[in-house]
Symmetry: C2
Subunit: 135 residues, 2 copies
DNA sequence: CAATACCCTACCAAGTAGGTGGACTTCATT
DNA sequence: AATGAAGTCCACCTACTTGGTAGGGTATTG
């Protein structure tokens, strides 16, 4: 399951896509419109900025906005930033790989199945972008 | 990601599949062979029993064993018992459905994508069974 | 009686969801 | 050029839940 944080992230991004190319959007505006706790949202947006998805402008007239064209950022990307691995096991994760402990790497029964699941999932999430978030 | 608990569950089940039709298997034996913390394993097996996947026998000569033929229990089943929802959002979960808060049910952008992900995932996990856990 | 599943409680570490307060930056106004 | 309001940025902090560990006691079976 996606964490609540990730769900907030997507809701916030949806709003920013709608306001794309219209200048910086206030955190407080997003918070109000999308009913996301203000301070929590603050952290989420900052994280997305540090990861290169958003840009921000400080001071008066400042706010957050999407860095690249919405069609350039994939949903999989957002999930990885906020929630971490998409795969069901560390040993089949592309971006967060870790050896399974006490599991003979030779032939882990789950391994093969989970690679299938991963590929099926990514096949979708790597092709959907922020642009798809709006109608 | 699957919890460690779920991973243990699959490892334990793998062992039980190998010993299928050979009578009850001791918790301690599974714990040793698969290197799973004994007391933690105890809880996992009990949970799987209550969910109808395993059977147990108390007293001397007792232990745990798989209830139905391994080909009858799907991996999706095990995950749902141990970890809960497989879907990425409650609002697209088949077995653990919940309305999303503050998300216009009419058209949630994520919704559609996550239904695709869910179906792709289940397409695999609903067809793989315990039997597939062994070579 | 001994072996074994079953069950209960307590505990610690880590992660999640969110809040507080304040420092820093920018811009418009004067 | 100084000021002050409007913003982001940032370092903690609290409360709650989850994951995992550990010990000991009870019920049941051979």
């Amino acid at each position: 399951m996606l964490s609540r944080k990730a769900q907030y992230a997507f809701r916030a991004l949806t709003h920013l896509v709608e306001k794309y190319d219209q200048g910086p959007v206030l955190i407080s505006e997003i918070s109000k419109k999308k009913k996301i706790p203000l301070k929590f949202l603050e952290n989420i947006l900052l994280e997305l900025k540090k990861a290169g998805i958003l840009e921000s402008k400080k001071g008066k007239g400042g706010g957050y906005y999407i860095k690249n064209h919405p069609s350039k950022t994939h949903m999989a990307n957002v999930i990885r930033i906020v929630d971490g691995p998409i795969a069901m096991l560390p040993c089949v994760s592309l971006y967060f790989y870790e050896r399974c402990k006490n599991c003979n790497e030779e032939y882990c029964a789950l391994h093969d199945t989970m690679i299938l699941v991963r590929d099926a999932t990514l096949g979708i999430l790597e092709h959907r972008t922020l642009q798809d978030l709006t109608n």
